[in-house]
């Protein structure tokens, strides 16, 4: 009732009618024109009203010229020709005078008729199926998955899809390489993206097969690197697949012979890569990732390999992430870890080995945290110098880092605004009340945990903190490349490595050796142990070799601390070693690591890296890696 809005109709002005009549050669008097005008308006309205039924029955919302023509035809009026095109017609004014017209371009028919590039007909009309599964309550089942029916793809694409998936998941490494390369550069596979994403989401079903997991991750990497693909919301799906590889206690990790650590490292690297390149596609992604990592980290029930994944994940996401999530958690987590590491029982050996992995990962993460923090402080301090050259060491390190494309992590970061991400985090986020810990305090605390394992050194004296030295200018005090056993070390590597000092004690030795003056001693173990144990005739042992790390970067094999066994015919050798460090009153001794080997297996058959996890390897082992597709190293992260 209240609808009193006036209904106005489009009206044709009298002048137009007269103009049209003139063009037809008829002169109209005023009143005739007026009458005609009114009639024309009425007829137009009538035709429009009639045409709307054609629209309704064609189940459209848009009234087309065609509808109008039909209405005209059914009322015995000639149809209007020439306006059948679907696209809108531009309606233009003329500058001189209030004249408007519809643009009507001339079409050169000859050109059209003789044209050589005959346009293809539009694609064939077809029917495509989409199923929405409802559960009992009428909720849609999650829609992220793609229906397995690939039938709607064109034949070519279908073939491509089959070839690619087959060769990536197949046996032939060469084929795989080719396929991955193509996936990385092919510009026409946008239509297949959902299917690839779907395939990748199959990580959950192959968690027993490291090789397949690896291949799927490579696929992710190729997709992410393909410049022609717009990942859109598929990023989320990819990230969840990658996160699965990082965090989940994979079925493959049940068998200690499987090197799932490498997979986790690789996945973490990939995660950071996805995040830095595509993080903007999905809002809040960073936040979510951090949350899930944190959740895993704070869950003591999770196995150590999950914790390891969380740590390397955080590490990969940058030092800010480490600072905000890992660092605050460290005291709580440390207790758990310590309990694991302190358990020398044989049954615990495996778990303990895992614990060492985690320890190593944490150590690497906090080292970089310290370094970067110090750097950022120094950068801030030298803020006056615009665009100051980055410390060469870091740059060098980044460039030489073997990753294919190290994530462009901003050093003095707010550029990309992680911080803003974090601050934007909703209520209840643990880092809401987070306040940055000053570097000295942080260092002190970390030092209390790691002691001199920390490669980054600051004076813990009271004077510290005013102007912390730029860390790179200050070479790490104790620096030692970890032994790579059979491996050569990347000569270009300049990143600080933690110092390790290895004690190999004969089994009777339960007590830790080498409390060498609290400072320098730290233990590292190397893969070579495995080898040496396999050929126990070669006895290379360097007990308590504390090499103050003034070594130049180019370390050769023989200078590495090597494990040494006392040839003990009976029983497995037991290693125990200590990482010295002041435990700030918590413990007067250094951390002690111990592990047991059972050399009874046919070790020679197994490649060295299979054993890598068995040792409390801290830092890195393995070959220097140029391609990070190679899974021979772990924990290698560009700094």
């Amino acid at each position: 009732m209240a609808d009193r809005e006036e209904r106005r109709f489009a009206e044709v002005p009298r002048e137009s009618i007269r103009l049209m009549a003139e063009s037809a050669g008829v002169e109209l008097s005023d009143d005739v024109a007026a009458l005609l005008t009114e009639d024309v308006c009425y007829r137009l309205r009538e035709a429009t009203q009639n045409s709307s039924q054609f629209m309704r029955h064609a189940k459209r919302r848009k009234l087309t010229v065609e509808d109008f023509n039909r209405a005209l035809r059914w009322s015995n009026v000639e149809a209007v020709c020439g306006y059948g095109a679907q696209d809108t017609l531009p309606f233009r004014p003329i500058k001189e005078g209030d004249l408007f017209f519809v643009e009507d371009r001339e079409v050169n028919l000859v050109e059209l008729a003789l044209a050589t590039n005959i346009p293809k007909g539009c694609a064939e009309t077809m029917v495509r199926v989409q199923v929405s599964y409802l559960d009992g309550k009428g909720n849609l089942e999650p829609q992220g998955t793609v229906p397995s029916a690939v039938q709607t793809l064109s034949d070519d694409l279908l073939k491509y899809y089959q070839q690619i998936t087959r060769s990536i998941l197949g046996e032939d490494p060469h084929l795989m390489k080719v396929a991955l390369l193509d996936l990385q550069s092919n510009s026409k596979i946008a239509a297949l993206l959902p299917y690839f994403v779907y395939v990748i989401s199959g990580v959950k079903s192959v968690s027993h097969d490291l090789e397949q997991l690896n291949r799927l991750l490579h696929m992710v990497k190729s997709l992410v690197q393909n410049p022609y693909l717009y990942l859109g919301s598929y990023v989320r799906s990819l990230v969840s697949s990658v996160m699965y590889c990082i965090l989940e206690p994979l079925a493959a990790s049940i068998n200690p012979l499987n090197d799932h650590w490498t997979l986790r490292d690789y996945a973490a690297l990939l995660l950071s890569h996805i995040f830095w390149t595509h993080g903007d596609l999905v809002s809040g992604l960073y936040h979510q990732i951090l949350l899930s990592l944190q959740k895993v980290l704070s869950d003591p029930v999770r196995p150590l390999c999950s914790h390891y994944g969380a740590v390397v994940g955080l590490h990969a996401l940058g030092w800010k992430a480490v600072e905000r999530v890992l660092y605050p958690h460290l005291p709580a987590y440390w207790a758990n870890l310590q309990a694991v590491l302190d358990d020398y029982s044989v049954s615990n050996a495996q778990v303990k080995a895992d614990g060492h992995k985690v320890y190593g990962a944490i150590l690497v993460a906090v080292e970089r945290l310290l370094k970067m923090k110090a750097l950022s402080l120094s950068v801030n301090a030298e803020g006056g110098i615009g665009g100051l050259p980055r410390p060469g060491g870091i740059m060098g390190c980044r460039e030489s880092s073997p990753g294919l494309s190290p994530p462009p992590e901003p050093l003095s970061e707010p550029g990309l605004g992680i911080a803003s991400h974090l601050h934007a985090g909703g209520a209840g986020c643990p880092w809401e009340d987070w306040t940055p810990v000053p570097l000295p305090a942080m260092y002190c605390e970390l030092y209390s945990f790691f002691g001199d394992s920390l490669a980054v050194r600051f004076s813990t004296g009271p004077s510290l903190g005013n102007s912390p030295p730029a860390p790179l200018a200050q070479p790490p005090t104790t620096r030692k490349e970890l032994p790579g056993g059979t491996a050569n070390l990347d000569t270009a590597r300049k990143m600080p490595q933690l110092t390790a000092n290895l004690n190999i004690s004969p089994r009777q030795d339960g007590s830790p050796h080498g409390e060498q003056g609290g400072g320098v001693g730290s233990a590292g173990a190397s893969q070579s142990l495995a080898r040496s144990s396999s050929s126990s005739s070669v006895q290379r042992s360097r007990s308590s070799s504390s090499r103050p790390g003034q070594r130049p970067s180019g370390l050769s094999r023989d200078v590495f601390p090597k494990a040494r066994f006392n040839p003990l015919p009976a029983g497995p050798p037991i290693f125990s070693f200590v990482i010295g460090g002041r435990q700030m009153g918590r413990r007067c001794q250094g951390r002690r690591f111990q592990t047991t080997f059972t050399p009874s297996q046919p070790l020679s058959a197994v490649s060295s890296r299979t054993y890598a996890h068995k040792l409390p390897v801290i830092g890195r082992v393995g070959k220097p890696v140029r391609r990070w597709t190679c899974s021979q190293y772990s924990l290698h992260l560009p700094l």
Binding site: M1, R7, C41, Q49, F54, A58, K59, V127, Q130, G138
Partner: protein
């Protein structure tokens, strides 16, 4: 109605209304013809004829005479003969006998030999496909049987006199300046009456407004008309906006010619239901004021259906009004409707053996059981509400049909029970690259084929199973095959023609409706070109073009038992056809605007038609009567669905609302609000627990139909008067809303296992 009006004061009024009945019938006739052919002689004879004679029988006689006169005048000798003959029979039998005769004649027809006595009438006509409209009432069933025999007069030149006859009623005029006063006087009066009467009397505003406006326009008082419109159009209910828009454009007498909406107003009486108290109040007021102008309009253009009892509330009135010609008269919905289902034919067991010889031993007992379960209740005792099995002759089941029935039963045992707790999964068939415009979709009952009608005049058929579509080999090749071999049915198929989809060319305008035959051998399509075409799905060629509608045909639908089909279109007439007759068997005339959708009742004895006049009508196939008129929609109706038990009807309209109707009682029993655009498709699940609706607003919605039907309290009073209180429970009934991806939903279908299929064209 006459029964109610017994007060002596209204003696003359009663007489008046009596004639109106006739008048109305003729009016319906004329209006049905309005857009198509004018038939004023009928209208004038019947309305000016000796209408005072009492009793329905003699009224009928009168009409018959009128029709005869009309036929003679137009030189339809054959038709006259037929009508005479029929009338001669009828003269010595009363009406019921006549009906029985008709029924028995129908029953006698053997469908086996593919003849049908329903088509008696068509045999004796030689005229062009008829567009003549049958009087829906008055002449009754006999005339509609005959209607096919009505020749069609040439249209040319007759428009004008006809319209003048129709419009001449407006020639009586008062002082144009006083119209505003009259109207506002009435308005003041209505505002002053008691609340309970106000709502009822407010119903008068709209028809009075329209007719006063038209009178002004007709008598060339353009400025007064415009002023009148300006002043009072805002008072009208918002659901009349569409009609008001048409009216507002109409300001000259010349415009009135040929305006269909106008003809509707004029030729049909606007029906109002008013309680006796309110009516007397109104009458007293008008008599006191000597307000003859309004009284005249009421007498002439309105039909006031008076009932005893409580005046209705505003919401009650609103729920029922909105149609082009007011509400349905109460007696229009009084006829008995046999809404029960037909008995399922027994299927002999030997067929099972043929079907699956392999699992003979274990298969048999298994199969028998479900049969008993599923059919026992239906077949053991006849549904009291069901029509006689042979009320309408149905085609006999072929072997292949029986096989299909068995398949159906097997599938039915695997059917999922749906309910609010277990909703169906939805499978959406999206038509991609449908640039030519998808206008209609249909699935076969077993969901193996999907057909689409397109605006580029093509019909496309897809197979949605891995089985490809194959056509039969050519005649020459068929001669070569071994006809005795067991796999002859396989051998006749041409492997080379196998493809996933076939395109059927033949129409010359957009295809607005497609429908598969239940046996999957045929496909119907109807088009803007005025034809309905029957296609063979064996050869993928057109078999018949049914010409009869001379205007766009908006919808067509196969009977659930095959053989018959219904079509309806712009000419406002729905036609019933049999596939083997090129002329319609029945014509259902009565709608005041385009017939937009058609649907067969599950027992094949009735058809429902929805129209742009915002009413749904239910027609009896046997005698062509309109047995139900449902009003309440506020926009053109675009979808209809019967519940599987045949008791209920759902209808959806452009206003986005879905209304539920109880067919037996002729009542509106539910209103489902939620859609924001035209509801183009409705479907009940196989067991009727869920109603699915698909709309232009890109959603599929699921409704709890069981609850909707149960929630209605039908005491005797509401059943008798039809004044129902609709519960406002759309939100409770809505079980789920599912968005498509920019795809209007234009068809819905439940598979035999209750998976919901939906279809539409992607519309970026």
């Amino acid at each position: 109605m006459a029964a109610v009006q017994d007060a002596p004061v209204e003696a003359d009024n009663e007489k008046e209304i009596k004639t109106e009945t006739l008048n109305d019938a003729a009016g319906n006739h004329a209006s049905a013809a309005g857009g198509v052919i004018p038939s004023p002689p009928v209208a004038s004879t019947s309305s000016s004829g000796p209408a005072k004679a009492g009793g329905p029988g003699s009224e009928e006689q009168q009409t018959l005479m009128a029709v005869l006169q009309f036929l003679k005048k137009n030189n339809f000798v054959g038709a006259v003969d037929v009508l005479r003959r029929e009338a001669g029979i009828l003269e010595d039998s009363d009406e019921s006998q006549g009906q029985e005769l008709a029924a028995s004649a129908l029953g006698g027809a053997e469908a086996g030999d593919a003849t049908c006595t329903l088509s008696r009438a068509s045999s004796c006509t030689t005229s062009t496909p008829a567009v003549a409209a049958a009087p829906a009432k008055g002449a009754g069933e006999h005339c509609s049987t005959l209607s096919a025999a009505f020749g069609k007069r040439k249209e040319s030149g007759e428009d004008q006199p006809d319209v003048n006859v129709v419009l001449s009623a407006y020639s009586q005029q008062g002082d144009p300046a006083l119209y505003q006063g009259y109207y506002s006087g009435l308005k003041k009066f209505v505002e002053s009456v008691l609340d309970c009467h106000r709502a009822e009397l407010s119903q008068l505003f709209y028809p009075l407004f329209v007719h006063m406006y038209l009178e002004l326009v007709y008598n060339n008082h353009e400025t007064e008309a415009k002023a009148f419109f300006e002043k009072f159009s805002g008072d009208q209910e918002c659901y009349y906006q569409d009609d008001l828009r048409v009216l507002s454009g109409l300001t000259k007498k010349e415009h009135m010619k040929g305006n269909e909406t106008l003809l509707d107003f004029r030729t049909s009486k606007f029906v109002l239901r008013i309680s006796r108290d309110s009516y007397q109040l109104l009458k007293r007021h008008l008599q006191e004021r000597q307000n003859n102008q309004i009284w005249n309009i009421i007498q002439e253009h309105l039909y006031i259906d008076i009932f005893d009892g409580m005046p209705r509330s505003k919401s009650q009135i609103d729920s029922m009004s909105g149609s082009l010609a007011g509400e349905a008269k109460r007696e229009a919905n009084k006829a008995k409707v046999f809404y029960g289902l037909l008995k399922e034919p027994e299927i002999d067991v030997p067929l099972d053996d043929e079907d699956e010889e392999g699992e003979n031993e274990e298969g048999k007992p298994k199969k028998k059981k479900p049969k008993k379960d599923s059919m026992g209740s239906k077949s053991k005792k006849q549904d009291p509400n069901a029509p006689q099995q042979n009320r309408i002759p149905l085609p006999e089941l072929k072997d292949s049909d029986k096989l299909d029935k068995i398949m159906y039963m097997k599938e039915a045992t695997k059917r999922i029970r749906l309910g609010p707790e277990s909703l169906p999964s939805i499978c959406f068939y999206t038509f991609l690259n449908a640039y030519q415009g998808l206008t209609a979709v249909d699935f076969t009952d077993d969901s193996s084929l999907i057909a689409g009608g397109f605006a580029d005049s093509t019909v496309r058929v897809w197979s949605v199973t891995p089985k490809k579509l194959r056509s039969v080999k050519s005649a020459a090749d068929l001669n070569l095959i071994d006809k005795e071999s067991d796999d002859v049915l396989e051998r006749i198929m041409d492997e080379k023609s196998a493809s996933e989809s076939k395109i059927l060319y033949g129409h010359s305008g957009p295809v607005y409706g497609v429908s598969f035959s239940p046996d999957r051998n045929y496909l119907l399509s109807c088009s803007e070109d005025g034809t309905v075409r029957l296609w063979s799905l064996q050869t993928f060629t057109c078999l018949v073009g049914y010409k009869g509608h001379n205007y766009p045909v908006w919808d067509t639908q196969f009977s659930p038992y095959g053989y018959y089909f219904i079509s309806g279109g712009h000419d406002r007439v729905a036609r019933l056809w049999a596939t083997d007759h090129y002329q319609p068997l029945r014509m259902f005339a009565g709608h005041l605007a385009d017939i937009t959708c058609t649907q067969f009742h599950p027992n094949s004895n009735y058809v429902a038609t929805g129209s742009a006049d915002r009413t749904v009508r239910l027609w009896d196939i046997l005698n062509g009567n309109c047995v139900r008129i449902f009003t309440g929609h506020k926009g053109p109706i675009h979808s209809l669905a019967f519940s599987p038990n045949g008791k209920y009807l759902a209808s959806g309209a452009t206003d986005g609302r879905v209304l539920l109707w109880d067919i037996g009682h002729g009542l509106m029993i539910g209103e489902l609000k939620g859609h924001t655009d035209t509801v183009y498709s409705l479907k009940f699940s196989r067991d009727g627990e869920i109603l699915a609706s698909g709309s232009m607003d890109n959603t599929v919605r699921l409704w709890d139909s069981i609850k909707a039907f149960d929630d209605i309290e039908t005491d005797d009073f509401t059943a008798a008067t039809g004044h129902i209180h609709l519960p406002e429970n759309s939100q409770e009934l809505l079980l789920g809303t599912y968005m498509t991806k920019s795809t209007p939903v234009i068809h819905l279908h439940f598979t035999r296992r209750n998976l919901l299929l939906a279809a539409g064209a992607y519309n970026p």
